[in-house]
Symmetry: C2
Subunit: 201 residues, 2 copies
């Protein structure tokens, strides 16, 4: 076994993971560094050795954890797809998994919290949204080329619309308590996606 006692990469990773857990559940201002260090099994000294301050920790987590998590959930499954059914199936799946603390909800909550106050955090979050909209736009573009998606739609606008909708669902209906609302949104979303389908030739 590895008998090394100081493994900076692992401690850094543990700190990021612990911070992510806390940020996802209680938001940025709501989480104390004490809970983070406790969860990570590291003390204050260790934390501030790896990150100069709380905001940097959050920024690192956003860039190194949250962004990839969103990509894994929403970009990659669409990477080589071009049909509406793939998107519909993806939404069904992701909506059913939605819960407080997951990546989609965390992204939504962090954005809602940071906007207006913590301008520096917004930058990293905004990048995630840009990438998300880009991936969705590319997907829709491919769908248009392949013929499965109607020619008249504007992929960029439609992507922004879809991202907003998903965020809205993550905010208004991400708890097991309001599963009914989530199902209602999903139902209407599927109807809406059908309107993007190109008329059968």
């Amino acid at each position: 076994m590895n008998q090394r006692k100081k493994q900076p990469l692992l401690t850094r990773a543990a700190l990021l993971d612990a911070a992510g857990e806390e940020f996802s559940r209680t938001g940025y201002v709501g989480t104390g560094l004490g809970s983070v260090t406790l969860r990570a099994g590291v003390t204050k000294g260790g934390l501030f050795h790896h990150f100069p301050d709380k905001r940097s920790l959050a920024q690192a987590w956003i860039a190194e954890r949250l962004a990839p998590a969103i990509a894994a959930l929403w970009h990659i499954p669409l990477e080589q797809a071009a049909t509406l059914d793939v998107l519909k199936q993806l939404c069904r799946q992701r909506f059913s998994e939605l819960a407080p603390g997951d990546a989609t909800s965390a992204l939504s909550a962090l954005t809602a919290e940071s906007r207006g106050s913590d301008g520096l955090l917004v930058a990293g979050l905004e990048e995630i949204f840009e990438a998300w909209r880009g991936a969705l736009g590319d997907f829709l573009e491919r769908g248009k080329s392949a013929g499965g998606i109607h020619r008249s739609i504007k992929p960029a606008a439609e992507a922004a619309f879809l991202v907003a909708l998903i965020v809205g669902v993550a905010v208004t209906a991400n708890s097991p308590h309001n599963a009914a609302t989530r199902r209602a949104c999903l139902s209407s979303l599927e109807d809406y996606l059908e309107t993007l389908r190109s008329q059968a030739t």
Copy 2:
């Protein structure tokens, strides 16, 4: 002039207004009672005379200020309408007014923040969403009866969908900086609303 020196109703109102300003801009945990009392021109003693604790202050603000504000923005204009054009015009208007700190953004941010942690605040916020979805559902129902809206739609599901979308826009595109994203969402929203129109006979 009224020379009364103690006007409990006015001070209470001032406290609610001040709390609203702070909650809307920096969220629940992000606002200190010091800023609230300062803005209201009241001291801690006065605050805790009217409200037993911080959470009660927030609850009172949600019920007495935020809920009516949302109603004024989204329910009342639709109260006696039944055509899609009224809804489209309303969305155009409200989207253009969207900014950090307004009622719609505050509702979205507070909900995103409270869910998972402050269960007691969620109750009041949930009521607002219920009323919102109800008002929108009634509107769509009237539209169906009047004939302007397609018969096949499910008003309740569509209402949940629309509320989620608006919240999503308020979270992802409520700052003047991303007006482009907001316009994109609005554009797609209008296209989407058109699909609800009943086929011309």
